[in-house]
């Protein structure tokens, strides 16, 4: 404990400079804008920001990226509140109560509730990251290739298990993961260093570049999706001109008294779910919403503008942001797509995520932890609050016809500057088209991207484990951790299938009871 505090002090002295704070606030502002614009997300902002970080100092770059993610996590609730359009998937649960509250004229209350819940969730999660990551990293040093492979497999199963509402969605999730692993296998063989799927193109010798894949699949796919939706977005915004009631200090206090238990419970629950690789913020937000509803004495207001229905999912989804870094900084396994992009930023800066990260770069890592805490608090006061004041005018007047072409140019130069190769722009078109078609066919591009990122780790660790055991798969069963993770993966899969069957039966029953639905 004392060494953590000493490291934190050193990290703070090293990292807390005006430049780094400015970097994190700048990232937060970009994240708020990306999160608030339907069709863009915090992680899209991170992907677009990544190429800019090549020439920046590690602290400035990573603080800006994390700020972007945190800003995006909160800002998804802005359009969810004002226009009933979740700016990000994380805000899908927030819509349920934030929009009805805004419809009653209490937009300011809904937006501020979401903001302060985000700050509380983020801060609690930051503290957990600070105090749990160092001991976990010490344990992680002793984890071998079989255990790491088991953990990657578990995280991929977790992603699939929480996907969709039907059994078909689970199979599609599996297929998405296999496609991601296949894409990741292009390039050099990790053990033999011979070429695979390079099609005689020297540009593909080192595989599909991470930045190109992330920008193509996450940002570019979204832009293609929006080609035919800009008019629809404009029409929906036009109808949203309503009066706004003030939010008094008395009401603020009453809301704190009403929501404090949900805030703490959801922050802890979100932090726990975020630390499990693969779960992500959107499912965590729904779990927190469900828990708040379950724990509430009077449930009648849920879905009609209950403040607890905003506080719980918002604190939960923001708690995921920091805790999803726990597997990244301790094991080198990104817990979410955003953590994977952040992992890319670490690697760009010459820091390899994994158990040795905290040992090799303690000042930078603890400095970043301090900056994360500051970002949540300062970002809320200096960026999000002024943004809330402007947001209605800004979004009613936003011109998507001009915004999306600019984002395409950002995507293009983003991938170009990674290797200064125009081949990357052509690869962006190919992968973006693939992502678009897969999205339209109902596959999960997020699962595909996560598998693409985790694929090389899974292959390298599995093959290393097999080399260690002279080709015997028994190594996965003799290691207690690896064996437990494999069993958990199977159990998780069976549980997910059972849940979907139950949900389908419930749906059928409700249709029989109410055929008009």
């Amino acid at each position: 404990m004392l060494d953590i505090l000493a490291n934190l002090r050193d990290g703070a002295l090293y990292a807390v400079t005006w430049t780094n704070i400015l970097g994190s606030l700048l990232g937060y502002a970009i994240g708020v804008i990306c999160g608030a614009v339907p069709g863009l997300m915090g992680v899209t902002g991170m992907a677009l920001l990544l190429p800019f970080t090549f020439t920046m100092s590690p602290l400035f770059a990573i603080a800006a990226m994390m700020g972007c993610y945190k800003g995006g996590c909160y800002a998804g609730s802005i359009t969810a509140t004002l226009f009933n359009i979740p700016g990000t998937p994380e805000a899908a649960a927030t819509v349920l109560d934030a929009y009805p509250l805004a419809q009653r004229g209490e937009q300011k209350r809904a937006l501020e509730l979401a903001l302060w819940a985000s700050v509380i969730g983020g801060t609690i999660s930051n503290c957990l990251l600070i105090f749990t990551a160092p001991p976990l990293a010490r344990v992680a040093v002793r984890i071998g290739p079989a255990e790491t492979a088991g953990l990657v497999l578990f995280s991929l199963t977790a992603v699939i298990g929480l996907m969709g509402t039907s059994r078909l969605a689970i199979w599609k999730g599996f297929l998405s993961v296999i496609m991601g692993l296949m894409l990741a296998s292009a390039g050099l063989d990790p053990i033999l260093s011979t070429r695979r799927y390079a099609f005689s193109l020297t540009e593909l010798d080192s595989g599909i570049p991470f930045v190109v894949a992330v920008i193509a699949m996450l940002a570019f796919t979204e832009i293609l999706e929006q080609v035919n939706r800009t008019r629809e977005l404009a029409v929906r915004r036009e109808g949203e001109r309503r009066r706004s009631l003030p939010y008094s200090w008395g009401q603020r206090l009453a809301d704190v008294r009403l929501c404090w238990k949900d805030l703490i419970r959801s922050s802890l629950l979100g932090s726990f779910l975020g630390a499990l690789p693969g779960i992500g913020a959107a499912p965590a937000a729904f779990v927190c919403y469900g828990e708040a509803r379950r724990a509430a004495g009077d449930k009648t207001l849920f879905g009609k503008g209950d403040p607890r229905g905003i506080a719980a999912p918002e604190s939960g989804n923001n708690a995921v942001a920091a805790s999803s870094l726990i597997p990244l900084v301790t094991l080198g396994i990104p817990g979410s797509v955003a953590a994977a992009v952040l992992g890319g930023a670490f690697m760009v800066q010459g820091m390899i995520p994994g158990p040795m990260l905290m040992h090799d770069h303690p000042q930078v890592i603890y400095g970043l932890f301090v900056l994360f805490v500051l970002t949540d608090i300062l970002g809320a006061f200096l960026v999000a609050l002024p943004f809330i004041a402007l947001v209605r005018t800004l979004f009613v007047n936003m011109n998507y016809n001009l915004l999306f072409p600019l984002v395409i140019v950002f995507c293009g130069i983003g991938v170009y500057t990674e290797e200064y190769s125009l081949f990357s722009i052509h690869l962006l078109v190919v992968l973006g088209t693939l992502g678009f078609v897969l999205t339209k066919l109902g596959f999960s591009v997020s699962a595909l991207v996560l598998a693409f990122i985790l694929g090389p780790v899974l292959e390298r660790e599995t093959r290393t484990a097999l080399l260690m055991s002279n080709g015997s798969f028994g190594i996965f069963l003799t290691s207690p951790i690896a064996c437990t993770l494999l069993v958990l993966s199977v159990l998780l899969f069976v549980w997910a299938i059972r849940q979907k069957i139950k949900a389908e039966r419930g749906e059928k029953a409700s249709l029989l009871l109410d055929p008009e639905e």
Binding site: L175, M182, T194, R195, P405
Partner: protein, 160 residues
């Protein structure tokens, strides 16, 4: 045009698995001297999952349950997307020959029109100002963007 998501996914992935197994793995993996075990394992997993997926579709249809539905794609939507993708491909190619500024300005002009922008003033401001602003930001950050005649002219100016 109505595209049945499940059937199209199944057919496309089955085709890919066949091409991968019979053409790509022998020519792009084994011929290059790489170990084919991992690619074959992935292809095998894809085939097994496709069989299970097909069985699930059949079960859903028999039970009258929920399938993934259809993707309604109109020819105008298809045209817009194809136009956009072609535009980006041409833009990417033109960057090499003409530098960043000129192709980007033209690309923005065309893309914003494709997205439905009709105001000539807004189009001109977008196409004129944003490539210059982006070029300035990247130059300040020390990241070199593709250079053409216009960029060379700017580099001759005394102000950097």
């Amino acid at each position: 045009m109505l595209i049945r998501k499940d059937i199209v996914s199944l057919v496309l992935l089955a085709l890919f698995a066949a091409v991968n197994g019979w053409v790509l793995i022998p020519s792009q993996v084994i011929a290059e001297g790489s170990d084919a075990t991992y690619p074959r394992l992935l292809n095998g997993a894809l085939v097994v999952l496709l069989v299970l997926y097909a069985l699930e579709i059949l079960r859903c249809r028999k039970a009258g349950g929920r399938t993934s539905g259809v993707w309604r794609l109109t020819f105008s939507e298809l045209g817009r997307i194809a136009g956009l993708l072609t535009g980006i491909w041409i833009w990417g190619t033109a960057l090499e020959a003409c530098g960043f500024l000129l192709p980007t300005a033209l690309f923005l002009l065309l893309t914003a029109s494709l997205y439905g922008e009709r105001s000539p003033w807004k189009l001109l401001v977008l196409a004129g100002a944003s490539p210059l602003a982006l070029y300035a930001v990247f130059t300040l950050l020390g990241s070199a963007l593709p250079r053409g005649p216009l960029e060379q002219f700017f580099s001759l100016l005394p102000v950097r």
